[in-house]
Subunit: 597 residues, 2 copies
């Protein structure tokens, strides 16, 4: 597969690399005296040098003869070196950062490559948006390997998104060098029910010899999981139980253990390898969604490695899971994922495998970060105006918009979406709430809040209505244009006035996330780029998000990353009940459900 992400393709520099290894041509860079974390053999090899030329590794071992005039010598002083880390499944948009700022945030933590699925911007702006992210990313040293969004809209027929991806689009996208595979195929109903167009989307990827990544989120380890894998889907990051991950690995699927900012599956899911003495080559760790606070304060894959080790995963195994295992999943192990001759010189320096903290990061042979800071800069990038104006709501929103009439009197039983903090799933609950003046109202005593999703891409004026439970908001409202996967305008609140204020604030500011109370804006993160991202730095965004989190707390919510949990309320490919601009969706049966029981 593609060499788009290397400084020089191997076939152009192999003769030079062999000359360097033999000592006829001096290396550009030599690392001396390192402890190599050998992910091929699962060993620590001591007193190892690495000779580098043309961005690639020429020799691993004793490299004294590779040092010549002009060779940059970097002594590791006995520190560990391990391969640059790979995030096998990540949505950059969830960080609310632009691709370039995302790269700047993760590289110092030891990440050299990501397999990103720009599914969110694609839902808003289509492939035009994807291409903007590609352009933004390619000026950075990060190997931003694209998996083309497969499910836009996520679950066709149940929501209105800004764009649509067809199998014909996929056939043509797969010809691009920067595309290494298909983004998470989450239309598992389409796959297991043999829907032709869904299989055409995966089929065009297979035909191109590229990797189909998956999303299988139901607790089935039998026929449906088999049907999904048999369709050529190679990996899945949706295991939430150890038995899901184990079943996937046994069936030859790469089980990607997720540890994102809001979804903490690793402890449970890693039991599959901690409690059983199995071959771990099919185990991978990924972040999926990470918000800027996590990136700034905890880290990225280094943080996930530390978490795994804290749960009892062997440190070398943990490093294999974010390097060679991931590279083999994507059949890119000839390019990345190990510190071996011929591979890209993507190398992380650290001092303690039990507390894995990269202090120097090399990508393609260049030191790109030291002590947590980037040491190289890259060209500025501006997104075009079209990407900065994507709020197209077709109705004028007023407090009256939020009235929900009912024929019931006194009280009514409604379907409510109950969130599960730190998990992607939710529950369908039937709750009896009071009816006032013929209207269904939020009931803060039961923690049941009115929820609206407004179509915001094509001015259709559509909106869906539901109730959510679990945020514990007592007064006020919040709104977000980060609302998976169609990213329509989601509004939740205790009263119609605050809900209207929250919605209109985001419409005016081009998208974002806001919390209001009693007519006051308590916190707002503007996300003018497609209503999803902001070109500011991770630190600036982290601060803004922190302020919003405090605003959430002020109005009563104390769950972890509430906005990420909130953002999944419309995600109709996850169980059990979801709300889109078209209405309530039963995501176990894939049909619309009426609001009232």
């Amino acid at each position: 597969m593609s060499n788009k992400f290397c400084k020089v393709p191997l076939w152009e520099c192999s003769a030079t690399l062999s000359a360097v290894a033999m000592g006829r041509v001096p290396a550009e860079t030599v690392i001396t005296d390192a402890k190599l974390v050998n992910v091929c053999t699962h060993e620590i090899c001591e007193h190892i040098d690495v000779a580098i030329h043309s961005g690639r590794i020429a020799l691993v071992g004793d490299a004294r003869h590779c040092i010549g005039e002009g060779t940059k010598v970097i002594s590791a002083d006995g520190a560990f070196i391990s391969p640059g880390m790979l995030d096998g499944h990540i949505h950059i948009e969830s960080s609310m950062l632009s691709a370039g700022e995302y790269a700047r945030a993760v590289i110092p933590h030891g990440t050299s490559g990501i397999f990103y699925d720009p599914h969110e911007i694609c839902n808003v702006m289509g492939l035009e948006g994807v291409n903007l992210m590609v352009k933004d990313a390619e000026r950075t040293p990060l190997k931003a390997m694209l998996t083309t969004p497969s499910c836009v809209p996520a679950v066709p027929g149940f929501e209105d998104s800004g764009s649509t991806i067809t199998s014909a689009d996929i056939a043509s996208e797969m010809k691009r060098d920067e595309v290494v595979g298909l983004g998470e195929m989450m239309n598992f109903p389409g796959i297991i029910n043999s829907v032709e167009e869904t299989h055409r989307i995966t089929g065009e990827t297979l035909k191109a010899g590229k990797i189909v990544t998956g999303h299988f989120s139901i607790p089935d380890t039998g026929r449906a999981l088999n049907a999904f894998i048999a369709s050529g889907i190679r990996c899945c990051h949706e295991s939430t139980r150890m038995e899901d991950a184990l079943a996937k690995m046994r069936l030859g699927m790469y089980a990607m253990f997720r540890e994102g900012s809001a979804w903490h599956d690793l402890q449970e899911v890693s039991r599959s390898i901690r409690e059983r003495d199995i071959d771990t080559r099919f185990a991978v760790m990924i972040s999926d969604d990470t918000h800027p606070y996590t990136l700034c304060n905890d880290g990225h894959m280094d943080h996930i490695v530390r978490r795994a080790v804290s749960f009892g995963v062997d440190p070398i195994t943990a490093i294999q899971m974010v390097t060679i295992n991931c590279a083999q999943c994507f059949q890119l192990d000839h390019e990345i994922g190990s510190i071996t001759p011929g591979k890209c010189a993507d190398i992380v320096f650290s001092r303690d495998l039990n507390d894995f903290r990269p202090f120097r990061v090399m990508i393609d042979g260049d030191v790109v970060a030291e002590n947590g800071e980037m040491t190289v800069s890259f060209a500025p990038y501006s997104y075009p105006e079209s990407a900065m104006h994507t709020m197209h709501v077709g109705e004028t929103i007023t407090p009256e918009t939020f009235r929900v009439p009912t024929e019931k009197q006194g009280s009514a039983t409604v379907r409510a979406i109950e969130i599960i903090p730190a998990r992607v799933g939710d529950y369908e609950r039937h709750v009896t709430i009071p009816v006032k003046n013929g209207l269904l109202e939020s009931d803060t005593e039961q923690d049941v809040l009115k929820t609206f999703v407004f179509e915001r891409h094509h001015n259709t004026g559509k909106h869906g209505v539901g109730f959510v439970k679990g945020f514990n908001i007592k007064r006020g409202a919040m709104a977000s244009t980060v609302a998976h996967d169609a990213h329509n305008l989601l509004v939740i609140g205790t009263n119609d006035e605050d809900m209207a204020l929250a919605a209109n604030t985001l419409i005016e500011r081009g998208g974002g996330m806001v919390a209001v109370r009693d007519g006051q804006i308590l916190g707002c993160v503007e996300l003018p780029l497609a209503g999803l991202m902001n070109p500011m730095t991770a630190e600036e965004m982290s601060e803004k998000v922190g302020a919003l989190s405090r605003a959430w707390e002020e109005i009563g919510c104390d769950i972890v990353s509430p906005f990420m949990t909130m953002a999944l309320i419309p995600l109709a490919c996850l169980p059990e009940l979801r709300l889109t601009d078209r209405g309530l969706v039963d995501c176990t049966k894939f049909c619309f459900s009426p609001l009232e029981v």
Copy 2:
């Protein structure tokens, strides 16, 4: 990579497979109640069913719901099932069998796929010969995956072969679906010395996204091995010491442990994984060269698995080494190498992992062998006349041809090639032999015999002269047109009359191997197909080769497979001293050496 070797490409049948897994379409075949050797997780999973459709696996687990009218149910009755075995590096020609008869010989032993390098026929007939083997193989169920010969001639400038392969040939061959990689790059001097054309040959393969297989036969684990691997060469089967194999795996190269008919490296080389607790994913076992007697009496990869287990390799690990590890080496693990959904239904049934003897073999969902016999037949195939007449020796060979004049008197010191039984290497020895009538003669007391190599492709009349030591022949001569890699006519003998008889017998019979004594032909294996193969069955050939072996014994030679050791005498890519039609080659310095010291 390519799906040329499957019954139906996955993208054409994925919707059907998911329907089978879900129970909507009945499976074509269901295997019930098996003990699955799970090569993904290194486990035995009990009571496993496998549902099959379109030659592929639809489901692994409980398949009761996949059985419908017309489903063929095969009860495993608690037997083990493991993936069809892969031989990661094999020259079919060494079996002296045609490709079709080779397939018939190995399939009943559990081999479902081979990565073959038709290097020998290519040296004789060029790509035309390769294509004949492709055509012969493709009518069989065996997945005969082609690695295009990379080194024809083996070491340019040191021998005359029947054909030449250039980087331009490789560039065009790599476009073919049946080509999965480049055959063993044994011109390691060209690679490590950065010779442009050699790197172009590997480069064209890398550019096509295919696998470069290697041959690195010097005991170097430092700069030269690094230079070789850095050039993109992914595997090597030439390790003869445990430290070679260990170094290769540590450097991210697949170490292919060889156990051929004549070269028994496995016991020593497998120490790398038996004596160290390392990750074994880079360990593979291969046969390289197997003669018909071995195939008929010992087996193929099953025999190698049994050998590994007898040396103390864990049985599941041994099976991984001939299945998933090999598939991952060739980045074909999405198609073959494991019993998991979506993969080709290549399945081996056996009853005892400690004495691994396949009793049923399935390829692409069809039972193709039971109890050691093929259960399917395939269309006949005839090689064209041109392939059956390839002896073109440009001189009339008489006893006088074998006179070796010298200026020395009484005695002379010559360079002799000392063979090492059961190893591919040899030693350069300096031996003082008597001079009679101004001629150097064989000296049976010291076991030093005259040896000639005659160019046989283009009637050039060239021949090279040397001496060999180690065969222990007391009277008579032997000749062979199997004489790696140019496959010129090789003659060894104690006297000129028998040498002439041996040579002329093979010229008359279109090639083969012969042993003569005192003017009598004691044994002859005719190899009319390119002077390398015979379209007879393995059993017939085994008998013929057995008769020849007895003839060898009659003339005094008692080493294992002497003709295979003999055949390497001209192989100028192996250390230390070799004889080609151009003369003696010092294979450590890559220069010609004079006969006399």
